[in-house]
Amino acid sequence: MIDLTTQIGLKLQLKNPVLTASGTFGYGDELADLIDLNRFGGIVTKSLTLHPRAGNPSPRITETTAGMINSIGLANIGVDAFIEQKSELLSHLPGKVIVNIAGRTEDEYADTLKKLESQEWIAGYEMNVSCPNVREGGIEFGAKPEILNHIVGRIRDLTNRFLMIKLSPNVTDIRVLAEVCQKRSADAVSMINTVYGAAIDIKTRKPLVNTVIGGLSGPAIKPIAVANIYKTHRAVDIPIVGIGGISCGADVVEFLLAGASAVELGTVNFFNLNAVAEILEFLEEYCVAQGIGVVTELVGKVKV
C-alpha cells in the first residue's frame, strides 16, 4: 500500500494529491451520481464572486488541437447562493473543499472571503488572480507584482485558513509573482491558469469565442505548465499545486517530478469521467515499480 497522503504547507493535508481544477467541476455536486467524489484528495469549486455573474455571451468555447479555448467569464451563482445551496453536500464530503474566489475589485475579493469564513467546512481558498476572460479583475491582479502584493496581503490578513494563489502563465516571469505570494505568507501557489489563445472560423471570418482571445486548456498546454512549475519550484519554498493539461497518471508523475506537491484536474473532467480513478491506480503502480513508499518522495525529483 502506497502512502498517497499529501501535505500542502502547514495547513492542508490531503488523502491524495489529486484535486479538481476550478471551473471544470461545477460546485462539486454536478457529478455526484457519476463519479465517486471521495476519490479526490479535494475539490476546488468554480470561481465565486460577491454577486452572481451571468458570464459572457455565446460562443464561449471552441475545440482546438489537443485542447480547447474558453471564454466563460466567471459565470457563477454568487457567494450567498453558494452557501445556501451547496453547503449541505460539500460539508459532508470526506475530501477537502477549497473554494475559489474572484472579484472585480479588491473589496469584492475581501467581502466574498468574509462571507465564506462563516462556513466551518471550507478547508481553504484558492484566489483566482489570473482569469483571462473578464474585463475587470481577473488577470490584472495577477500580472503586476505590486498589485498582487497588495491584494494577497489584504486577503491573508482576513483568514487563517489555507490560502493558495492561482497564477497565470501569461506573464513575463511567473517566479516573480510566486515570490510575492510567498512574501505575503500565502500557503501555496497553483499554476497554471489557461494560456491566452484565439481561433478564427475561416468561412465566416469570425472569432470562435466571443472575446476573440480566451483561455487555452487541455493536453496542448501541459508542457507550458511543466516548464512553469519547474522554474517556480526552484525559486520559492512554498508548495506548488500543478494544473495544466493533465489527462493521465503519467502526466501527474511528470508534474510531481517538476516540483508540484499536488495537482488539479481540469479539462480532462470534460472528456474522461474516470480520470481520477485511473490516475490513482497509476500512481500506486508507478510508486510500487519505482520502489517508493510515499508519493511525496517524487516532488521535485527531476534529474537535471
Binding site: 458570464g55 455565446s58 485542447g67 489527462s247 473532467n269
Partner: protein
Amino acid sequence: MRHLTETIILENNAVAKNIFRMTLKCPEISRSAQPGQFVNIYFSDQIHIFPRPFSIAGATDEILNLIYRVVGVQTSQMAGWKIGQTVKILGPLGNQFTVDASVDNHVLIGGGVGVAPLIFLADKILQGGIEPQFFLGVKNRDEMPDGKFFRQLQDFHASSDDGSIGFHGTVVDNFLSHLPGIKKSVAIYACGPEKMNAALAQLAGERRYDCQISFERLMACGLGLCQGCTVKKNSTDAEAGYLLVCKDGPVFHSDRVMFND
C-alpha cells in the same frame, strides 16, 4: 439516472447522404431515455478531445437508436464503426419534450438531421394513441432519410430546398401552407437549423402556439461543468443571463429563449 457505459453496436448504416443510423445495445440508457434527451459518445483521441452529443432517435427496451450526420472528424470515424464494436457512451442527458395530450394538433417540425429526436417523439405520441403531424425539410432528395422511418405516420409531409422531393421550399413554408386546414390548438415540437428555429419561434409567438425547440450547441462536457453551451434567456433585462443547452435544455419553450444570439 445517468449511466456511463460501454455499449455494443448492433447496426450502423447510411440512411441518406451523409446521414447514418447507429443502433446500440444499451439497456442502462434505453430504459429511461425520453424524446429530446441526448447521449455523449467518447473518443480516445488526444487531438479532438471533446465527447460528442447526439440526440436519441429511438429507445425500446434494450435498444438505443442514434441518427447522426457526418460533419467532422469524429462523425467520419463513427461512420466507419463496425457491428460488434464497443462504444463508450453517457446518458441519458438533458431534459425532454413534454406532450400535453389535451392539445388537438401535435406538429413535429424537423430540419435535416434535426429529424433524430422527432422520430423518437413521434413514436411516443403514437403510443399514446394520438396521430402527430410530421414536417421534415431537407436540402435535396439525397438527404431525405429512408421512407421506412416514416411509414407508420399517416400525416407526413416532406419538403426540400431544391424541390427534388416533396414541397419545394422550407419546412416552415410547408407547415404554413397546411395551416389553413389546422383549426384547433397547436403544439409545435421542433429541431433543426437556427434559422428554422427562429422562424418557428416567431410564428409561434404571433399565433400563440406552444412551441418546444431542441437546440444544438458545441459542448465540451454535456454535463453543465464547462458552462460553454449557452442560450440567452428571453428577457428585457440585459442582465438576464443564460441557460445551458446541455443541462437546462436541450429542449426549450420558444418564448423562454432568444434566437440569433
